[in-house]
Symmetry: D2
Subunit: 360 residues, 4 copies
């Protein structure tokens, strides 16, 4: 309950700071007899890894994951899965400046006030480094879904807005997502973003973004009204990611401007089964998955560490200015895509197991 | 864990359907020796009560709350508080039509598929009637906050958008909120909305809305990173309310379009204490309250029950048309304001107790 | 988490005090489509009901249970089941004496110190009256087990020791349990206990007891090592019953005196399936059910309210003597039998649902 | 919820198997600013460590604990504390025999049936090796109690029965506990046990034991009725330890034979404060600590791995005989003493934080 676990039946707990010796997690509740290898987890970690191009932080982390328990002879045993990643890039540097000054937009001030102590080396626990373990745990969640649900569950993410620039949704092509460094499904937007982000980076500034994650082939029936609705848990999952400031399901805030007849998705019979003729609801009705694609979007604020001087105060109550040198992502939202996918997988895996429990 | 409880230490569990004999809840974890009366709870229920003007459903419910345990001689005893409301308006009517047909936009289809059975009398458990118990529990949460936090915590809500029409935030006046039936803080917008909603109502249509809830005087330090961040739990709280499709904190989705220097709130010393010069963050940094106003907004889709014919299917797999007569809210978002306030109070009260637990 | 809930997936929460208007509970997580009626629950409440003979308290309670939600047209709907019992025997009396004095052996002192307030009317929340709701919830748990497990699960309890007098286990006959007011499976012991308890009652004294609860036809595989082992959760379940001071599984404390070869149950093949040749383990190995009978015993201390003068102190810190008049059970253990059975059913139902969740 | 976590606010989760590369745990919920070093934790691990004399298994484990997160510059930061121990003695051996045969009295059969897979190398997850992490986490729990409670909480354990031989309680001397290899507080019994255990060991047999753990200076008020009573959680804590078959509080099963006047502890005023004149209740009334010593006893069955041939069956359903060579504890109860102390500390620390949360 102290805040570092997520999920009820499929439950993972993370530990570790950005500049400690290692980070890790325990994934409890994985059903037994699922094939899983370090290589399968590594694929997702590699997608999130920093330092892959000029648009992400130049911190170099191998992010090599080790499975240290819960898997025997290549299969899960039903016991807790321990995962470990050594931190290799703990560059020794002078933290003197940020040790004393609260970086605006960061968690420095609130951690200091809440705990009275703060690991000031690069964010400590509040660093986005923690999200590596979400991605690793998410890889196991995907295996659970793919093994237990016929046809598997496909989970894909994309960047749909960078700064004020949105994609043109008519050009959406999932195949393009891996053709550019931004997870952008619109190839023309991707080109424009490149120029745009380069200029922000050179100006020492940073940009926000909006990410969309879509899960396909999710069975009808996941979600536990009225407080653990699937959308409620997805909202929590996404909002728990660093720098996220908003979450919406389906047409989200757009529905506020709809009329009742525009909004509600009608139903017809197709191939002998109920079929919705639209998906404004984003695949969730009354907090329960409807069998349509689950569609979640979330907004990530611009990186707070920028190469510009900002006004702040110190732990001693002195006014000060701060200039955060370092290796920062000009648009941290980019690396949020695999994290959003992981949180989708983790939420669905938990609700899948919950659903099985209460099956007739 | 089965979905009908919210909170960890200050935890409430609701039960009851829209057309059962009564609805109720248990509030567990309330500290002892807090003065509380049925009248104090009733105030908030009266604010949410249907049938008060032509803009809300004409269902007539007295919504009289009874405290049946946990309070002795006017004070909480630390034992579970039981609350009960009799359902008085269980109008006997022919449910034949909606008993068989899935109402588009409603939870009928997903409940049917998940559970294989559905209380078809007006929504059953998925009805917004359940939110009455959130408001009642929320009244107790407010007492906890006001009793234990010096100066109390002020929680206020407002409707900031009806259909596509937003308020003019420069005209925001909290004093206006109770001067119109919409909880609208902008008196000019309120006038316009009246005409607008009347025409939607007469057309048998419905409208969406956006609600903003603000909590003032919240202490620094509430929230448990990295999964039970205050904003993550608020997102879950608001998304769990019927018909909500999006949640944002502070400037929310707007931050995606900001640059880093526009977004991060700078800090100065004022009266010897750190003071943020802006509040784009909505009072939460790194998942922990910063002492500024907590600002949450959420979007409510238009009421799905409208006086227009819609395409659907039946439980027997037949295509059909449905026309939902009845006493519906043309803009259900209006009555969502006290519910949003209650969820804010409930989330804060839980995190306040969690914070106390881990105090040095 | 505040203490008034039990179970994780099949989870119930109770509320109410001995002298409030009513007591109740919410049972959350019941699978849908299970037939259940008030009459089926009432059977178990009647077995626990006080005032049935001279060996139990003469408080007269009809203990009539009402289902107020979660059941529609005779079947569970998967939504929370609300249960209510009105308190009919709230005899108005002068509580002056016990309002101020802490009754030795009772929870008066600790509630007072913990909460700073106490509902002094007959124990309030700490009264055994609360166990009526355990029995009611237990009836639903039995239905879950009997509906979902082939052949059903049989749960039976017996009193195996009254005061220092144990039954002769060679005379054990489950058929005798309902032939005497003590749930005693040994007819000769039952006769002797009658005389013995009568004399204790007349002397204004009280007696302790040991109860044994046995569950048959429990599937292999229930229990979640290493902290939510089935025996660990049963120990918690039984120890949570009022006045219980010890719990053991299988041969329990007796195993301490065994040698390794005496203790471990050997295995043979019988009818093509593994079969244990003895059951010292009480049906649980490594915290997981083995398919054998689950055997749990627990000790109940003598009723603390006796017709003898006892030394105590007052809420004002004065030394005093106390003589607790009233309608007390001379051996409260007797009425503990149906409560123990209920806690067994509730624990097994929860672990059954947990087991289903993690099935391959 | 999947079974590998304990506690609600002060919550730890363990992972790792007896023959994997390492074992570890995450302790979440530790208040910040508590001084803690690896050396302080190591003291308790050394007390539990195997291979220290001829009465414990000859497996050689250094059991060196590393703190990998949550502590910065020697102080807890309020973030999750990661602890790691490398397994150094993973002797390569032929597990062929026990890989196929279920060892009587072990969890082999139930794990196999539950999970369909089993790490057969020495017990895997069901091995007592897991308890090393309980002891490590327990060291942190002790620091929480000692830092936050005035005067600290003293937690001590002793072996009070080996096989059928009980200590003479009139000779109880805490000072003797470290003077013999058995944690025996009675020096004369300790001598006798030495001979007795030697002969059991030479015969290839094993012995059960009873352990008593006492916590002194525990504040009044810990425990959350009615399901999370302090005694209920202690019962769960102790029963979750490998091989434990019974738990009692205070006079435990003995109270069944008492009369009401013998059992209830009377109260007098001493130094202006209420003082119980006896402690049959073991320091808990109504599930809440009374300020007296908390006294818990638990029975540990004899080690199931013995050097004698036993009847069993194989995973293929063949009858077989098994003879478990290896390095086993002739009386595994001995090493259970520090584990019982740790579980006491962990339960009290969690309830201490819970109590703080609900303080007025």
């Amino acid at each position: 309950m102290a805040g570092n676990s997520f999920g009820e039946i499929f439950r993972f707990t993370t530990w570790g700071e950005s500049h400690g010796p290692s980070i890790g997690c325990v994934v409890d509740g994985t059903p037994p007899l699922i094939d899983i290898t370090e290589e399968e987890i590594q694929v997702y970690l590699d997608a999130r890894k920093p330092g892959q191009n000029r648009f992400t932080t130049q911190r170099q982390e191998a992010d090599l994951v080790k499975i240290v328990s819960g898997v025997f002879e290549g299969k899960t045993t039903g016991t807790p899965i321990g995962l470990l990643i050594e931190n290799t890039d703990q560059r020794s540097k002078d933290y003197g400046d940020i040790a004393k000054k609260f970086r605006p937009g960061h968690a420095d001030y609130t951690y200091w006030e809440k705990y009275g102590i703060r690991d000031y080396r690069g964010g400590g626990r509040s660093s986005a480094r923690e999200t590596a373990m979400r991605v690793a745990a998410g890889a196991i969640a995907r295996k659970v879904l793919d093994t237990q649900i016929e046809g598997g569950v496909q989970i894909r993410g994309a960047l749909v807005q960078m700064g004020p620039h949105k994609i043109d949704r008519t050009r959406w092509d999932w195949g393009e997502v891996n053709n550019n460094p931004f997870w952008c499904p619109d190839p023309i937007a991707a080109k424009e973003w490149e120029t745009y982000l380069d200029s922000a980076r050179k100006a020492g500034s940073s940009l926000g973004a909006v990410i969309e994650v879509v899960a396909s082939n999710v069975p009808v029936g996941l979600g536990d009204p009225v407080y653990d609705k699937l959308d409620a848990d997805l909202a929590k999952a996404m909002m728990s990611i660093n720098a996220v400031k908003g979450v919406e399901i389906g047409d989200g805030f757009g529905t506020a401007a709809y009329s009742g007849e525009e909004n509600a998705d009608e139903i017809r019979m197709v191939d002998g089964k109920p079929h919705f003729t639209s998906n404004h609801a984003g695949g969730i009705l009354g907090g329960i998955s409807s069998g349509q694609d689950i569609v979640v979007r979330f907004a990530i604020k611009p990186t707070s560490s920028i190469l510009q001087t900002r006004k702040t105060v110190t732990t001693d109550g002195e006014e000060a200015e701060i200039f955060t040198k370092g290796r920062h992502d000009p648009c941290v939202g980019i690396r949020g895509v695999p994290v959003g996918e992981a949180m989708m997988a983790l939420t669905l895996a938990d609700h899948w197991l919950r659903h099985k429990a209460q099956n007739r």
